[in-house]
């Protein structure tokens, strides 16, 4: 009987540059889901029992171990251990292996992201718990602000190396400006 060894999307040590840190992060199981027609309120009721909900566009909703991330038209990502009854109310598709997740944090993280995403990332516009489906350079991506100075970046697994390289290059350029790194 065969035994297969898992490999993460990217194996690189974290980078510290200027006032910023980039690291790979494993957020565990990930699945997409779309509510079954007519089951939308039942779904919301079920999620409420877990202290969760289907958030509106550009938002995430979390409890202590799981998160629901808005991911598109009638589509959400469920992050964390998948609740058994979800499949009753929604069509679920595993995404655990399809994405690479990076964590960018630090005082100059928004300046670094300004080189990568065409988004208004001022905290009053894009605050903690908000997210966007937006391109990281030319790559389909999800950007989630998890803390005031911490962001999670999702890219396709196959593009993890390119994403790492682009973020690192932006960090280098921001760090080179010193002080505020504008």
């Amino acid at each position: 009987m065969v035994s297969l060894i898992p490999t993460p999307p990217l194996t690189v040590p974290p980078i510290f540059l200027g006032a910023c840190q980039l690291a790979t992060v494993d957020l565990g199981p990930l699945a997409s889901f779309t509510p079954k027609k007519g089951q939308e309120s039942a779904l919301q009721a079920y999620l409420a029992t877990l202290d969760l909900a289907c958030p509106p566009p550009n938002h995430a909703q979390s409890n202590s171990t799981q998160s629901v991330l808005w991911a598109g038209a009638a589509q959400w990502f469920f992050q964390g251990p998948l609740p058994e009854k979800l499949m009753q109310f929604a069509y679920v598709s595993d995404q655990s292996d399809g994405w690479a997740t990076l964590s960018l944090s630090g005082a100059t993280a928004p300046n670094v992201l300004a080189r990568l995403y065409p988004l208004d990332l001022r905290e009053k516009v894009f605050g903690v718990g908000q997210l966007a489906r937006a391109p990281l350079m030319h790559m389909a991506s999800l950007l989630h602000r998890t803390k005031p100075r911490e962001f999670t970046l999702y890219v396709f697994r196959s593009m993890a190396q390119t994403a790492w390289h682009e973020v690192k290059t932006a960090m280098i350029h921001v760090a080179a400006r010193g002080r505020d790194g504008v």
Partner: protein, 975 residues
């Protein structure tokens, strides 16, 4: 010449530089222009067409004459303006457009032939004799034309691109912009203040001004301290806002490390895209000249530049300075210079009623007759109210008035309005939604006026953004100059010799006269016929003068004549900055398979297909050509077992009660009858009836399907499904999402494929052709599809991508035990051609199902996307180019891209019958095969056709056959 006591340069930091190979020195804070003038260098270039000696004309970014090539290490950049280059230790600057030297330029002969080189001369010459064009005229013109030359090595510099968002963008950091920014910042708005200079201040850096009874610099420093301390203010110096676009979006070019000592990882430039809810254009104004005889000599400069070099850099551009103007503002030049101890020999005023009491001679009603001094001004000859005079002067400060810098406000194709009071164009009201103009850019020229204007613009912006204005105490304006702007328009003075309008492109009043004479009286025609305004300076100091002269000459009002179209960029923008990060591998993301590292370590050369890197072939020891390896790999698959990573094919997860119905709508054939555990091949069309893609769809479970697509069409098909779902099936019970990345998938093909899989999983597998089953591999649920792209018994095994690398390794090892091994893209292609299977080489976007011989797959029982359009006359029936197979005689090579001709006609375009889409050497059949489209091909099977590749010199008689060359009955497939 350098003055000791004036200027904001740092005299404690001398800087050594070179110009045209000669060593000079200046100070930190100097531009190349100020440093050259300080060293008495007046000659800085040769004019574009006539190669006339030219000097520095302006101070700032509108310079038309002093175009410089800069060499910094390996970097060579032409067409830089000397007034914008900040000098630093060791830079080497070169003049342009001269040979062999600036002082002795052979091409100055053009000046002698100027009567033959007027506007549009090239439309009337170089036509005879015809054959001279290609061999003589064109090469000579090519060598003579152009400005500056490029390096031949690739650009090594690194720039970056970035986005910025704010509530208010203030363009220009002079008095108007500073007050606008201050007002908005005090109200709490997020403000970006951008200025193209190295420091903020605008005119305050160039003029002797007092604010609140103290030198303006004190007031400026205090304000900058306040602005720098505010967290909601971003000050961007060395940043030119270059374009205004829809939705409050602006482009800007920031010189980060450009023209500075090289500094580690700092990018050279940053190309910004700034989005602002509101913007204030406070870009100031540019002075304009007057046209008169020989008004282009080195030493003739704009009046504000003469005093600017004195005030800001402590540099005197001449020892006997004169002024010629039609307005009061130019008098400041005389007064500032005299206060600095410079010899001002005369003020020449074109007006009869101008003030005449100054501390130097003043002449009124002046008409300049001529100038002298080829390599530098020496004399003026002029007529005045009381006679004629001949004046010795080596520097003339020239002013015909000021033009508000309203370019950005016109970038959305708006036109400015003519204002008679200031004899200038001003922005029209509401030219651009969300943009206000303030200060000199709006025609408000005094310093106090500009400040008030800037503050008012900010207050208006606050109202439109519904934000409370700061308290009245925070809105007090300081005391500042509020002089009235007095001007009497003057565009040109009559002259038989040439009088320059556009210095950069050598356009004179004679050229505009000629344009009018020949009927090119529209300002857009005059521009293109004379090339006025088409130089790198975009006519900043010439456009208004030219159109005013055109108006006069053609008997119209200026307002009637109008301006040409303003287009971004406002100033030259390097392509390297706009394309930052996009060179070489940065051009597109790289996509890597889970088996990538292993393939590379096996020595497989990688090719790029739809951004993915895929192994081409796996060379073994002793194999010397790719063909050898490819032939072996084909044999491997046909006789033993081959393993190939096919993860790149698109995989789309489709669920829902309406999933089957949706598939019936997308595919031409019926999917809803497909039982669970089965796979079906299907084709899908675009709305216009042409084939979009083909693939297989598997019925995985209740209301659950998995669609596959071609690698390069994966995102296209996903977009197509999204569109159809949202536009046509919005209320269906349906969920679709890409899972291409989630699964690593491997083809295991050949007579020993089944044995290999059973070996891997430790259990028997009994799956019929086009079947699907879940397979337990330890704790992992894998998916097995019995489908084939090779024509052999073949399975595709999919596991979650995290196990891909590990599985690939195991498959390779196992395959060896069956005398098999990995195979790459070359072999994959040969195998599928032998079976007549299609890729996007055949489904290239212009073929229909009919062309492919797949009409039987078009269900007549249901509607589907593209059904109606596919039935249009002309898309089916006789005359269509139909898919056929071609077999070449043994020993002959045929190629993709070759065209097909009847055997009895000449192989020319008129006799073209079709073309080859895919070709390969088939080791299985021992000859070349091809797939092609041939007019009425299906009825020509068994006949001969002539295949000609004109590029590769191939001419072969081929046999037209059924495209399935190998195992026509499919025995090996279904075994």
């Amino acid at each position: 010449m350098r003055l000791d006591h004036l200027g904001a340069i740092d005299r404690s930091m001398p800087v050594n530089f070179e110009f045209d190979g000669v060593a000079y020195s200046g100070f930190a804070g100097d531009t190349l222009a100020s440093a050259l003038l300080a060293n008495g260098v007046k000659l800085t270039g040769r004019s574009f067409k006539y190669h006339r000696p030219r000097g520095i004309f302006t101070i700032g970014s509108a310079e038309p004459n002093a175009m410089i090539t800069l060499i910094e290490g390996a970097q060579r950049t032409p067409n830089l303006r000397a007034s914008m280059i900040e000098i630093y230790e060791g830079i080497r600057a070169f003049s342009q457009n001269n040979w062999p030297s600036l002082r002795h330029d052979v091409m100055a002969i053009n000046d002698v032939f100027s009567p033959f080189l007027g506007a549009g001369f090239y439309y009337k010459t170089f036509m005879w004799p015809r054959k001279f064009w290609e061999n003589i005229y064109e090469p000579v013109i090519r060598r003579a034309a152009g400005l500056g030359s490029l390096a031949t090595e690739p650009d090594q510099s690194v720039s970056e691109k970035a986005f910025a968002h704010c509530d208010l963008l203030v363009i220009g950091g002079g008095p108007a912009g500073l007050l606008a920014a201050r007002t908005a910042a005090r109200a709490g708005l997020d403000v970006i203040l951008a200025d193209e200079d190295t420091t903020l201040g605008g005119r305050l850096l160039y003029e002797q001004e007092e604010i609140d009874d103290a030198p303006a610099s004190l007031w400026l420093q205090k304000l900058l301290i306040e602005l720098r301390a505010l967290p909601n203010v971003r000050l961007m110096t060395r940043t030119t806002v270059t374009g205004l676009y829809d939705g409050g979006t602006f482009s800007a070019l920031e010189r980060v490390s450009l023209h500075m000592q090289p500094a580690g990882d700092l990018p050279r430039e940053c190309f910004w895209r700034i989005v602002a809810k509101h913007a204030i254009l406070a870009a100031g104004a540019l002075e304009r000249p007057i046209a008169f005889a020989n008004n282009d000599r080195p030493g003739i400069m704009l009046a504000n530049a003469v005093r600017g070099y004195v005030n800001r850099f402590g540099v005197v551009p001449g020892l006997k300075v004169s002024i010629f103007a039609n307005n009061d503002d130019a008098r400041r030049t005389a007064r500032d210079l005299m206060a600095a101890g410079v010899n001002v020999v005369a003020i020449l005023d074109s007006r009869a009623d101008a003030p005449s009491a100054e501390n130097c001679p003043v002449y009124l009603k002046v008409e300049i007759l001529n100038t002298e001094g080829r390599h530098g001004l020496t004399h003026l000859r002029f007529r005045h109210a009381a006679g004629e005079a001949y004046l010795a002067t080596d520097c003339l400060g020239l002013s015909g008035g000021w033009n508000p810098s309203l370019h950005l406000a016109c970038h959305m194709n708006g036109r400015p309005a003519w204002n008679d009071a200031i004899a200038a164009f001003v922005p029209s009201v509401d030219m651009v939604a969300g943009l206000t103009t303030a200060g000199a850019a709006a025609g408000v020229f005094s310093t106090l006026g500009a400040m008030r204007s800037g503050q008012d613009a900010a207050l208006a912006a606050l109202i439109s953004l519904k934000v409370k204005a700061p308290a009245k105490s925070k809105l007090r304006l300081p005391d500042a100059d509020d002089a009235t702007y007095r001007i009497t328009p003057l565009w040109a003075q009559k002259s038989d010799t040439r009088a320059w309008v556009d210095l950069a492109n050598d356009v004179t009043t004679k050229d505009i006269d000629l344009a009018v004479q020949e009927g090119f009286i529209s300002v857009e025609h005059m521009k293109r016929y004379t090339t006025q305004g088409m130089a790198p300076d975009q006519g900043k100091s010439a456009n208004v003068l030219a159109l005013a002269y055109l108006a006069d000459t053609s008997g119209r009002e200026i307002a009637q004549t109008g301006t040409t179209t303003f287009r971004p960029p406002f100033a030259p923008q390097s392509i390297g900055a706009m394309g930052a990060g996009g060179q070489k591998k940065g051009f597109a993301p790289e996509r890597f398979l889970t088996s990538h590292a292993a393939s590379v370590s096996l020595g497989a050369p990688m090719i790029e297909a739809g951004l993915w890197y895929r192994p081409s072939y796996f060379p073994q020891k002793g194999e010397t050509t790719w063909r050898e390896t490819c032939d072996r790999e084909v044999g491997l698959v046909r006789s033993a077992v081959g393993v190939c990573d096919v993860s790149t094919l698109g995989k789309i997860d489709i669920q829902g009660q309406d999933a089957a119905r949706f598939l019936d709508f997308i595919y031409t054939n019926t999917m809803s009858t497909l039982p669970e555990g089965r796979v079906r091949y299907g084709i899908m069309l675009r709305e216009d009836g042409h084939v979009l893609d083909d693939g297989t769809t598997a019925h995985l479970g209740p209301n659950h399907y998995l669609m596959t697509t071609t690698t390069s069409a994966a995102s296209q098909v996903m977009r197509h499904l999204d569109f159809v779902h949202q536009a046509y099936c919005a209320d269906w019970d349906l969920s679709t999402i890409s899972v291409t990345e989630n699964w690593a998938q491997f083809a295991i093909a050949g007579p020993k494929a089944r044995a290999l899989i059973e070996s891997l999983s430790g259990q028997p597998i009994n799956l019929s052709f086009m079947g699907f089953v879940n397979l337990q591999l330890s704790e992992i649920v894998a998916r097995v599809f019995r489908i084939s792209f090779s024509g052999e018994e073949s399975y595709e095994l999919a596991v979650p991508a995290r196990y891909g690398a590990s599985l690939w390794h195991k498959l390779i090892v196992l395959a060896k035990t069956y005398e098999g091994g990995p195979y790459g893209m070359e072999a994959l292609n040969v195998l599928r051609i032998e079976k007549g299977l299609l890729t996007h080489a055949e489904m290239h976007g212009r073929v229909t199902a009919f062309d492919l011989g797949l009409s039987s797959k078009m269900s007549s029982k249901k509607d589907f996307i593209g059904r109606a359009a596919a039935g249009r006359a002309g898309l089916l029936g006789p005359g269509r180019e139909e898919l056929v197979g071609l077999i070449a005689p043994v020993g002959h090579t045929i190629s993709a891209g070759a065209h097909l001709y009847p055997t009895d006609k000449a192989p020319v375009r008129e006799n073209d019958q079709g073309y080859v889409t895919s070709a390969c050497y088939s080791p299985t059949l021992g000859r070349y095969l091809a797939l092609a489209f041939l007019r009425d091909g299906r009825e020509k099977q068994g006949q001969e056709i002539r295949l000609v590749d004109h590029l590769r010199d191939l001419d072969v008689l081929c046999q037209v056959e059924n495209p399935v060359f190998y195992d026509n009955t499919g025995e090996r497939l279904r075994g």
